[in-house]
Symmetry: D3
Subunit: 288 residues, 6 copies
């Protein structure tokens, strides 16, 4: 199902800030060189193969500058665009198109970059496996809402949105809380009933302790493929072990994804989807 684009107040806030960041002092070049009544046509073109993401926010950039701009989306969000494909066409005053070009591209390139790398990870999952590729909270400050959407466009799933959405007991919590069982008990007693209780474990001893304490999900942190496989077997062999969600995380690379999925984890979380995605190559071609 096509994910909903983030709500307008969230988008407008990001767009307005980005425009102010670039245009607080006006656009010297455009104002000097382009007549105010000159119309033009802008085409966003993929300059390499990519997964399309962010076209609605690109349109919004231009509409925020000038309500009379007209635009047509050529490809659905999440679609694969081959190099050279036109993604979006925008028609309006040349000054508007030039003033908004960089902001619109910066957004589309980042979002498509996240979607594209996500798709690569998702495609590495063997077709019979039901393993999910999910994001983390390692997102760009201020842009989490866009990056999580981009992960969905790339075929990935989202992890919890923020620290208030779900419980995930990590190593540093264990340091401060004093042990796995204690932490899980406290979490179950305090957290909303809507949240599963997930606990990070680094070895099989911690894994057993967390299971005994009744964790609903386990994050297998920084384990190699063999250890992950053993962990999965251990969990699944326990009564009710089928209902435990198993997440592999830490040191994930594209190469490991197939093995991890084959091992039977439910979720592979990849910080790099958002913290290190290279920008997708998109250009804006102007004609008059």
């Amino acid at each position: 199902m096509i994910p909903s684009f983030p709500a307008a107040p969230l988008i407008d806030d990001i767009v307005d800030r980005a425009l102010i960041e670039d245009l607080a002092g006006g656009d010297l070049t455009t104002d000097a060189t382009v007549a105010p009544d000159r119309d033009a046509h802008a085409t966003f073109v993929a300059r390499s193969d990519l997964i399309v993401c962010g076209l609605p926010i690109a349109r919004r950039v231009f509409e925020r500058l000038d309500g009379s701009v007209r635009s047509t989306v050529r490809l659905a969000e999440g679609a694969l665009a081959h190099k050279g494909t036109a993604l979006l066409e925008v028609h309006g005053r040349a000054r508007t198109l030039l003033a908004g070009e960089r902001v619109a591209l910066n957004l589309v390139q980042r979002m498509s970059g996240v979607a594209t790398i996500t798709k690569r990870y998702v495609d590495a999952i063997p077709s019979r496996a039901r393993t999910r590729v999910v994001d983390t909270r390692k997102t760009t400050p201020g842009l989490r809402v866009l990056e999580r959407y981009a992960v969905r466009c790339g075929g990935g799933h989202n992890h919890r949105d923020m620290l208030g959405s779900a419980v995930l007991i990590k190593d540093n919590h264990l340091v401060a809380a004093g042990g796995v069982r204690h932490a899980i008990d406290r979490a179950r007693a305090h957290a909303p009933h809507t949240s599963r209780i997930e606990c990070e474990v680094e070895n099989l001893a911690q894994l057993a302790e967390a299971l005994d304490a009744g964790a609903d999900a386990l994050l297998l942190d920084n384990m190699d493929d063999a250890l992950v496989a053993e962990a999965v077997r251990l969990v699944r062999s326990r009564p009710g072990g089928d209902r435990i969600f198993l997440e592999a995380s830490g040191g994930i690379t594209l190469e490991r994804v197939a093995a991890l999925a084959a091992a039977g984890v439910d979720v592979i979380s990849v910080g790099a989807l958002t913290h290190s995605a290279p920008s997708a190559d998109v250009a804006l071609d102007l004609t008059v």
Copy 2:
């Protein structure tokens, strides 16, 4: 000279937004598992070699959450940190350290990532050359001020800050303006006298036209090394050609930097410094 950290109102705005993005619903896990009066000590540690950047904003993250936190910076901004080096130590309530951990890391990892890749480009410039490595406006929406600072920490220079800071006539302006000479004339007539007039050129014919029109700087766009070298020779051989700033841009890779510098360009602009810098690997270790 050590660059000034961006002004506090700019920083606080970014920090507050990032904290709200992660903490609007509170921190379920920490609240449930960690006692409110428990103190702890956090150490930011480099997990790979990197150029340090962003420690002042990491401190600010924790101070914004709790004014009584105490912190010590272990390395200067822009310094090289080897894997395993402690960068910053923060002491305070464990709840505060856990609640701010991810936001602080997200900022430091991104900023150090930009500084580190910038340093790699800067180090690729031969030692005798005076060529600058500079950023572009291809920055993360909302974080330009941080990323430009990170480029400076990495030894790079900044290009113009925004569209209102200086004139740069690009290909799309030429489409809308109708020719190089016309555009440069208009720019000179309208732009502030504090701004040089830079014009993008894609071939030697455009280059000659821009020089004849009196451009102060030329952006040599998407030229290969040989063409760049020829362009430099042509410009420098003209009377007054020594005073023309020459910028190479488009398709820049680390491998090309030495050749471009040797060719004699003044500036190499690299979008990848900000749009595709991988996150630097920094961890927060907690002890109680």
Copy 3:
């Protein structure tokens, strides 16, 4: 465990807006009648029995106006204050105390009001029962973070924080989605693995359908006590039925709480905790 007070950026935003709402035009009366160098002492006093909540934000109101104000909290958040008890003492310039009085009281009265009514519901749960009293999303726009905290101070628990935190399939979703099973299947396929899947049911047929579809939690909507009891029995008698969370909601009154808890529901959600809590009676007494 004492709940953490919401993060400072969230609090400051609320405090600043409230102060601007009341002080954008200055304080005519205080400026005219009170000398600028006059000091005074303010005591917040409970004028009826109440559960204390919001004193940290009351202090923040005065500190935002004048950093030199000094204050002492007399009662812990969540404590029972008998009529006449001093809750908070603030010392500083009389002008500051008078200018901030109403804003501070408005916040403390509302938050203590929510905590007090919550405590009343919590106290109605029989002591052996483990049933939770929880809030809903029927909170005051802009103040959800404060009201959820107040519910915790009153001994209640929170439901999900926002629409992005967890899945709760309600009647209107069923209308648009076309059936319980379909909706639950879609939710399981799309939602983060950290979220349980809760589904609202209005009768035993829907209940059976939701259980068959694998819901993790059921919201028993607008059922009378007898029907709730039967629903609980039905669920618990199924294999694995002990692990299903059962939430009673709709038309909850204080009088019904004991019966619902006795029936064995895990959660009773009460919109009135936040949408209709009467203000707690707190006064500010000034002395010079």
Copy 4:
């Protein structure tokens, strides 16, 4: 005369904040269960008798999410709606209606709640009396503009809007200022000529002192009905006493209103209109 709805920038700010509060993480349930192209029809229905208030802001909630939504108001602001009456109909994408449902209801229920309780107080004024029922500054932080509007919709009047709008010398001012006469003299000397000078009095001695000092209005604080009646007689019997505004405040209940009006006060101010109004019961019914 129908009161103007608050100015759009004020409304949009409240709406956007409320939407972000609920939708910062998206709408998991709706996105998972409802197809993006599914249209639906929402009807706001009164579930008990109430005074309608806030329908324009409910429309605005949906329009902010999706400009293509169409809506029809079925009842005028301030009208009496009987249980079961349709108040507002909204047509658009089902996802939009579901995402905005709670925010729209929270606003309408609160505003209608204030209007409804206000109307009850206003209706308790005998028909020949010209006594006003007015609000206080005991409003919800951040929502004063909506609650004052709701009071007007309920047939009440507003007191001063903020501390900078008019002078009201209260008990704590008297403590800090040193006496009624001094305070009134200072207020007259300093306050804008557009503001009347009102002074709170707790007994007949203070009342006399305030009259002698030339107060334009008196707030009779926490007096019982008999004392209020005597206060009114004393004031009206003095030369010019007809022009003194008399406000009864403190401990006002619905039962006392008729007696206070009969006693001849001009204004009865009731904090409970805004600080303790129960939410009006309004539901949103969805059809496809």
Copy 5:
């Protein structure tokens, strides 16, 4: 009595916006030319005679940039400073002083400009007269709170703060409302009892009509001195006419003030205090 400085949230908002307006791209010159550890001393000096206003906000500008700055105010707000007098001294890092210089000066110069011109009008009132000089709503958008404060520092009084603070029926209201009596009746029926009812009149016929309708105050608009004097006589000769506030407005010049005061108006309102006050000449001298 010294007026209170506007509340911190109002001030911080103005200061932060002004700093961001000037520093969003950093301070190129200072960063390049001044060492980060260089300390310096800044003195604000009056370069012409002026009424001091705004020093607290100037301090705040520097404190916002760097909490370690130390400053000393040399003259009280509202004091007369002769040319060459030191007003404020600030000690801290040279980079901070240079980065904040222009913003601080822009604020102090504008506020002192308003205070200085106000004082000139106030001084033109004959010493026995009790006529007030007041501002209008013709203030700088976004800075009303500062300009109203500056008027008070200059010895003037404020008119109503905003459209919601008090009733002033102007010519355009009369056009839309249909006559003086009708408008005054409606205003009395609807406006808060704390607000006097003021009506603008342009001639003696309107004046009589407004008096008959019971206006509390009259704005004598664009009348020459003789007509004003006659208007005053007419009003004062009526029973109760002593209690009517008379405001002269429109076309007020410094030369007319004495005559208008002598004529007996209570209030002279002068738009030029805020819309056309020349900037006061203040310099910042730096020493190291």
Copy 6:
């Protein structure tokens, strides 16, 4: 070329803040006296000769209040309007026109005031001279973007927009940096290549030093006409001196402009364009 109006997000922010500043408490007078369904027509009329500026923002004020308002601009931005000329006509609900009147006028009067005084300076430049009249950073905090636009409408040019746009080494920088040559060298080494290096000089010795150090532009500060003329001669007589930009600043009056232009400076910067421009006289006439 007609300058672009500042980007919508910048404008909307200013308009919304101004409207909230005036309308946070509603519009008492209009609400009381004008029926909600009454339509009216407003005409903005010049009451003295002026250069028109700001009509698009005036329209935006009314549109923000009510999207159904219709308006027609009668004169282009930057045009000369003779006394009595209609500038803008707005048709809509009378309540909307009255509520927005003052905010719209405050903006238009200020912007037209800046444009008008700028035009006066520009007209004082002899017709053959190419000397520019430019603004400074002595703008109204929060409104710089409008005032710079107004300067362009008046025929002037802009100086650098903010501290991050270009280098201008001023006297206080020289104090902290230790000498002209050192400062210019540092600036050249650090500033973006897009920025010319301008240095303030107070006498001919500094001027020579700055030229020797390679400054691109000189600000001749507080020199009398004769000294300016000599400075120009000195500079122009040096090799390459034709390419040095010369800016006269400090103590500029309308009377001096012709002499300074005749002396051959390129730029005359005038702080008074923005810090002391008297408001232009514009009225709003309402008809029904």
